[in-house]
């Protein structure tokens, strides 16, 4: 990829956390390099505990890498930014606000009329019409994630960082959320970096899947998913991409060890 067209650019990023007193620090990321173009949907997959979330938190500005360069929109990342909203795995919707108050949260500086207009629009887009006055505790897990997505969209974020946002949902809800996320992404032209441990999810969603190694993790491969959307989950192209990623992670699609582990 031509580096000048990259919206997000990570060069030689390293990350470690201090271990127990006296022990070695825990090395999480080594030599991570990646690029994301504007409007691209990129998934990051890897074994659990490998540092995918750490990498996303660095991109989101919540963690500072110990070495290397992380630039977004040409500027070094120094902290969280309202133009780049993080969607949390554990759901960051505020339980003391209603659905519409949550959706409008990022617009706290905007005039009320504009805010109401945008909130209405995005509540409709995520499919929560009729639940505007409901509190999060009255909603299902999937609906709460929809509120969080609406909150990010209403705030006009250009980039969404999504950290296993559907990980806690049941299977059918997850499928529906994926389909809706692709629809929203196509309508809104956002740049999305999406972390998941679910290979099938990555192949259903992404333009490109980045595969990480075990800890200390680096990006070992990139799989381009050049398939039309909505994707046919039985198509040979889909299955080939999926099996390629399974193989890169040292497994076959049935959970067995692949021929060449690691």
């Amino acid at each position: 990829m031509d580096s000048s067209s990259a919206l997000i650019e990570v060069r030689d990023a390293w990350m470690s956390f201090p271990g127990k007193p006296g022990a070695e620090p825990i090395h999480v990321l080594e030599r991570v390099a990646m690029q994301v173009r504007a409007g691209e949907f990129v998934c990051i997959v890897g074994p659990s505990g490998c540092g995918k979330s750490t990498l996303l938190n660095i991109l989101g500005g919540f963690l500072q890498q110990v070495r290397g360069d992380v630039r977004i929109e040409g500027a070094t990342v120094t902290g969280p930014d309202p133009g780049r909203i993080f969607v949390f795995q554990e759901n960051g919707v505020f339980p003391w606000l209603t659905v519409e108050q949550n959706a409008g949260f990022g617009l706290w500086k905007s005039p009320p009329a504009e805010r109401d207009e945008r909130v209405r629009h995005y509540i409709k887009m995520v499919g929560l019409v009729g639940f505007e006055k409901a509190y999060p505790r009255e909603l299902s897990g999937g609906m709460r994630q929809r509120v969080e997505i609406a909150r990010a969209l209403a705030a006009n974020a250009r980039v969404l960082f999504m950290d296993e946002p559907f990980g806690a949902l049941d299977f059918l809800t997850r499928l529906k959320m994926r389909a809706d996320l692709v629809r929203i992404w196509q309508a809104e032209h956002k740049t999305i970096v999406f972390v998941t441990h679910d290979i099938e999810e990555a192949v259903q969603l992404a333009d490109r899947v980045l595969v990480m190694t075990r800890r200390p993790a680096t990006i070992q491969a990139e799989v381009v998913i050049d398939l039309p959307r909505p994707r046919d989950l039985d198509a040979p192209g889909y299955l080939a991409c999926r099996d390629r990623i399974f193989e890169l992670m040292g497994m076959d699609a049935h959970g067995g060890e692949a021929q060449a582990p690691r």
Binding site: P82, I85, F88, G92, F94, W96, F105
Partner: protein, 265 residues
């Protein structure tokens, strides 16, 4: 079909039990109190009827209302001051690490001292006036309110803070829109505990420092003529008002803005 018939019947049964059990137990206890006093032949300790008679007598003389108002006034002042000082203080201690490091050891050392132990000090500083019991109530309520507000901020879920920072909130907007609402359920719990403590302390303080209020009523009824019917009448009023105060604060926990903080249902 048997199950379909039995289910509503057992629901009715459960409802009847939830009324009958407490009413029945109270009835048995009152009856044993009554007959216990009669059997012992005591002419000092009152039967339940004589105690209620004491309440009626106090009401007729206009003392009941006067003493209840006096006690409630002191609680309102001392407790209100403690809320005004304790909530902001707790929030600051919870948010600013240096403030916590500086003040927390002192708070933890003062906290186990019973408010009763402060009575001589309060009389020395404020004399025998309303100020002394108000000070004691303030002191007694301050610690639970401060400590719960502090813990509320410290235990706040990290994800709310991150989301708020992500949307660019810092300083006062961050505090007003996220930190305070996130801490509110636990602050209200602290306020409820503090109000219970305040009501305990006002009675104790009034026994020593002043000459009005329900605590004064109890000690005065005993000292002037061993009127134990009035002593027990005073105790009944204290229990009743304490219960009402707790029910009042519990209502705060039902607001939509804080209900999420008290588990399911």
């Amino acid at each position: 079909m048997v199950g379909a018939i039995r289910k509503p019947a057992s629901r009715n049964g459960a409802r009847a039990r939830s009324v009958l059990l407490p009413v029945g137990t109270a009835g048995v206890l009152l009856a044993s109190w009554h007959f216990g006093v009669v059997a012992s032949g005591s002419d000092l300790f009152p039967t339940p009827g004589q105690a209620v008679g004491g309440i009626v007598e106090l009401a007729r003389k206009g003392l009941l209302l006067k003493y209840v108002v006096a006690s409630l006034f002191r609680v309102t002042m001392g407790f209100g001051l403690a809320v005004l000082v304790g909530v902001p203080l707790g929030l600051v201690l919870g948010w600013f690490r240096p403030a916590f490091l500086a003040l927390n050891p002192i708070i933890q050392a003062l906290r186990p001292i019973s408010p009763i132990a402060w009575i001589p000090v309060a009389i020395l500083w404020f004399g025998v006036a309303d100020t002394a019991p108000i000070f004691l109530i303030f002191l007694a309520s301050l610690f639970p309110i401060t400590v719960s507000s502090m813990a509320a901020v410290q235990n706040m879920q990290q994800v709310y803070l991150r989301a708020a920072q992500n949307f660019g909130l810092v300083g006062l907007p961050l505090f007003r829109r996220v930190i305070l609402p996130a801490a509110l359920p636990q602050i209200i719990t602290g306020i409820r505990i503090a109000l219970g403590v305040a009501w305990l302390v006002v009675v104790a303080a009034e026994m020593i420092a002043v000459n009005s209020g329900l605590g004064y009523l109890i000690i005065d009824a005993r000292n002037a003529g061993k009127r134990y019917d009035l002593v027990v009448a005073g105790m009944m009023m204290i229990g009743l008002i304490g219960l009402l105060l707790d029910l009042l604060v519990r209502r705060l926990e039902r607001f939509d803005e804080v209900r999420w903080g008290y588990g399911q249902q």
